[in-house]
C-alpha cells in the first residue's frame, strides 16, 4: 500500500450520500453464478474425479456384468445400455456433494460472512451455487451420452430424448444440490457434508442400479430398491435408452425429481434465511 496514491474519497462520512439501494436480484444471481462457475472451472482436480469415476464404474460394470443379460427377463442384451442410466444419476448426486462442500468451505473460511454483510438475498446465493452445478450436470450428461453411444449403447429415444434427459438431469442436480446446501448451512462444516457421502452411497446402491427390480432375488433388497426414490430416477433415464418413450417411467422420474427439488430448495431457503438475516 505504501506508495499508493489515494485517488478518491472512500468512506461516506456524509450520511446524505446517495444510497445505491439494494442490488437487483438478477444482478446478484448472475454475480454469484459467475463466481460458482469460475470456481468450478478453476478447480479441475475437484471436478474431474466426479466426472471420471461414474464412467469408470460404468466401464467396469458393463464389462463385468454382461453375463447378467443372460438372466431370463433381462430387458436388453447390452448391459452397457442398461447400466448407463445409473451413470447420470451417480454423477449428479456426486457433484451435489461438491455444491454443499463449497458452501461449507465458504462458511468455514469466513467468505460466507462477507456475503452476509452485503445486501445479497438468499435466493441469489442459492441460485448462484446451483448454477454451477446445473452447468456441470449438463456437461456430464453430454459427455456420458457421447461416450455411451461411442461404446455401443443404444439410445432409443433419439434426439428429442436428449432434451428430456438434459431436463431431468437439471432437476435432479437442483434437488440433490439443495440437500448439499442444507447440510452445509446447518452444520457449517465441510467434514459434516463429506459425512453425507456414505448415505448417498446407500441411496445409490440399494436401488435398481445393477438389475431391474423384478429380477432382484432377495426380498429385502427388492423392497429397499422399490422404496428408494433413486430407483425411479435411474429407471426414467434408463427407459430413454432401452424403450424410447415409457410414459410411466418418465412421469415417475420427473415427479420424484420435482418433489425432491421443491422440498430441498424450500428447506435450504428456510435454513439460509435463519442464518443470513437477523
Amino acid at each position: 500500500m505504501s506508495g499508493a496514491v489515494a485517488t478518491a474519497g472512500v468512506g461516506v462520512a456524509d450520511p446524505g450520500a446517495p444510497d445505491p439501494g439494494p442490488s437487483p436480484l438478477p444482478i446478484q444471481i448472475s454475480a454469484m453464478a459467475s463466481r460458482s462457475i469460475k470456481r468450478l472451472i478453476r478447480q479441475p482436480a475437484l471436478v474431474i474425479p466426479s466426472v471420471i469415476f461414474p464412467l469408470f464404474l460404468l466401464a467396469v460394470n458393463a464389462g463385468g456384468l454382461n453375463a447378467a443379460t443372460h438372466i431370463p427377463g433381462f430387458p436388453t442384451d447390452s448391459y452397457l445400455t442398461f447400466a448407463i442410466g445409473f451413470t447420470f444419476i451417480q454423477a449428479a448426486i456426486f457433484s451435489t456433494m461438491g455444491a454443499g462442500q463449497s458452501l461449507a468451505q465458504d462458511i468455514e473460511n469466513g467468505f460466507f460472512s462477507r456475503l452476509v454483510l452485503t445486501p445479497m438475498r438468499p435466493t441469489a446465493l442459492m441460485a448462484g451455487q446451483l448454477a454451477g452445478l446445473v452447468l456441470l450436470g449438463q456437461f456430464q450428461a453430454l459427455l456420458y451420452l457421447s461416450v455411451g453411444l461411442a461404446a455401443g449403447a443404444n439410445f432409443e429415444a433419439g434426439v428429442a430424448g436428449y432434451f428430456v434427459l438434459a431436463a431431468l438431469v437439471s432437476i435432479i442436480s437442483i434437488g440433490f444440490g439443495g440437500i448439499g446446501l442444507i447440510m452445509a448451512i446447518r452444520t457449517g462444516s465441510g467434514e459434516a457434508v463429506q459425512g453425507m457421502f456414505p448415505l448417498m452411497f446407500v441411496l445409490l446402491f440399494f436401488s435398481s442400479m445393477t438389475l431391474p427390480r423384478n429380477l432382484i432375488e432377495q426380498d429385502w433388497y427388492r423392497f429397499l430398491a422399490t422404496i428408494n426414490p433413486v430407483s425411479y430416477l435411474i429407471e426414467a433415464i434408463r427407459s430413454l435408452f432401452i424403450y424410447g418413450w415409457d410414459a410411466e417411467a418418465l412421469a415417475l422420474g420427473f415427479g420424484i425429481a420435482a418433489i425432491v427439488a421443491v422440498l430441498s430448495i424450500t428447506f435450504a431457503a428456510r435454513s439460509l434465511k435463519g442464518r443470513m438475516l437477523r
Binding site: G3, G11, V12, A13, D19, K38, R42, N109, R114, L117
Partner: protein, 339 residues
C-alpha cells in the same frame, strides 16, 4: 445518537455460547463518529465475538448495541448497509482474482454497472494491488490478502468500519502501510473505525481511544495517554560507569522515587513526581561526580496498564481462555464463532 451519526453505542452487551463461557460479559462502550477505537485484549478475550455482534453476524444474548444509530438486533439489514467489515481471517475465495472479488462485491452491493469497474479499480489502486489484481488470491501473501479484504470492506462507502485484528501475522512493513490507510480513512474520509488488536503498539499508535477487554469484560477505557497516566508515573533507569559506586548511585535515585526491577546491572526507580524530576536527577549525579554509562526514561506502556488492571501481562494472557472457547455448534446461531 441519531441515525445520521456514525458512532457506536454499546450497553451491557452479553454473548453466552451454549454450554460455554460468557464470551462477552456485559460490556458498555461508546465510539464517537470519525474516531479510531482500539479494542485491545488477549486471544479469547471476546474481541471477535463483540465484532460479530456489532456487525449483525451474531445476535447478542442480552444488552443492546447501536451502530450509526441503528439497533443491531432489530435493524440488521440497515446496519449492514452502512458498515464495512474485514473479519479476522481474510475471507477470500482463493480461486478468484482480486479484480473478480471487487466485481462480485460491487455487484452484490448494487453499484451501477459503469461504477462497478471504476470503483473496483479505484480501491485496488488505493490499497496498492494494481499489479496483482488479475492474479488469483490463492497466491497472495498475507499482507496482500489483508489489503484486498480492506478494499472489499470499503466498496459501498461505509460510514463505520470494523477491522478484526487486521494486522495479525503481517510483517512490519505491511502493518505500517495498513496503519497508514486506516488513519487516512478516519482523518480524511471521516470513517469511524472499530479495530480489535492484541498488539499494544497498534492500539497505542493507531487508536484515538482504547478499550481494554479481558475475559469478556471491559477492564479500562480511555485515550492511550490517559490510560497510561492513570496507572502511573514514568521510571528512570541508570547504569553507573564504575560498578563500585553503585550503592551511592542507588541512594541518589531513591531520593526521587521507589525502586523497581531493572535489567542487568542497571538501577531503576518509579519517579515520585514525574518527568520534571529528570533534570534534578541529572544534576545530583553530576554534583556527586558519578559518571553514568546510560540514563533512560521509561514511560508506562499499555502493557503496564493491562498489568495494573488485570494482574497479568497482555502477552501470553490469552492462551488459557482461548483453549476453553466452545467449538462451533450445530445451531447456525453459534456458527459465526467465538473470539
Amino acid at each position: 445518537m441519531n441515525e445520521e451519526s456514525n458512532g457506536i453505542e454499546v450497553e451491557g452487551l452479553v454473548r453466552q455460547f451454549k454450554n460455554g463461557p460468557r464470551a462477552v460479559d456485559g460490556i458498555s462502550l461508546t465510539v464517537e463518529p470519525g474516531e479510531i477505537y482500539g479494542f485491545l485484549g488477549p486471544n479469547g478475550a471476546g474481541k471477535s465475538t463483540t465484532v460479530h455482534m456489532l456487525t449483525t453476524l451474531l445476535p447478542p444474548t442480552a444488552g443492546s448495541a447501536r451502530v450509526a444509530g441503528l439497533d443491531v438486533a432489530t435493524r440488521g439489514a440497515e446496519v449492514r448497509k452502512v458498515i464495512g467489515a474485514a473479519l479476522q481471517e481474510a475471507a477470500l475465495d482463493p480461486n478468484l482474482t482480486g479484480r473478480e472479488h471487487m466485481k462480485l462485491q460491487t455487484a452484490l452491493h448494487g453499484l451501477p454497472k459503469e461504477e462497478r469497474v471504476r470503483r473496483g479499480d479505484e480501491l485496488i489502486e488505493r490499497v496498492g494491488l494494481s499489479d496483482a489484481s488479475d492474479r488469483r488470491v490463492g497466491g497472495y501473501s498475507g499482507g496482500m490478502k489483508r489489503r484486498l479484504d480492506l478494499a472489499l470492506a470499503l466498496v459501498h462507502r461505509p460510514r463505520v468500519l470494523f477491522l478484526d485484528e487486521p494486522t495479525t501475522g503481517l510483517d512490519p512493513q505491511s502493518r505500517a502501510s495498513l496503519w497508514e490507510e486506516v488513519t487516512r480513512l478516519s482523518t480524511r474520509d471521516g470513517v469511524t473505525v472499530f479495530l480489535t488488536t492484541q498488539y499494544l503498539e497498534e492500539a497505542d499508535q493507531l487508536a484515538n481511544r482504547v478499550g481494554i477487554i479481558d475475559a469478556g469484560k471491559i477492564a479500562a477505557e480511555g485515550t492511550p495517554a490517559a490510560l497510561k497516566a492513570e496507572i502511573g508515573r514514568p521510571s528512570v533507569e541508570v547504569l553507573p560507569v564504575d560498578p563500585a559506586r553503585r550503592k551511592e548511585a542507588e541512594d541518589i535515585l531513591l531520593r526521587f522515587g521507589s525502586a523497581v526491577p531493572a535489567a542487568g546491572e542497571a538501577l531503576s526507580v518509579r519517579l515520585n513526581e514525574g518527568i520534571e524530576e529528570l533534570a534534578a536527577i541529572v544534576r545530583s549525579f553530576d554534583s556527586a561526580g558519578i559518571e553514568l554509562a546510560s540514563l533512560g526514561l521509561n514511560e508506562p506502556t499499555l502493557d503496564d496498564v493491562f498489568l495494573a488492571k488485570t494482574g497479568r501481562h497482555l502477552e501470553g494472557a490469552g492462551e488459557a481462555e482461548s483453549a476453553e472457547m466452545p467449538l462451533p455448534a450445530s445451531d447456525p446461531d453459534e456458527q459465526a464463532g467465538p473470539a
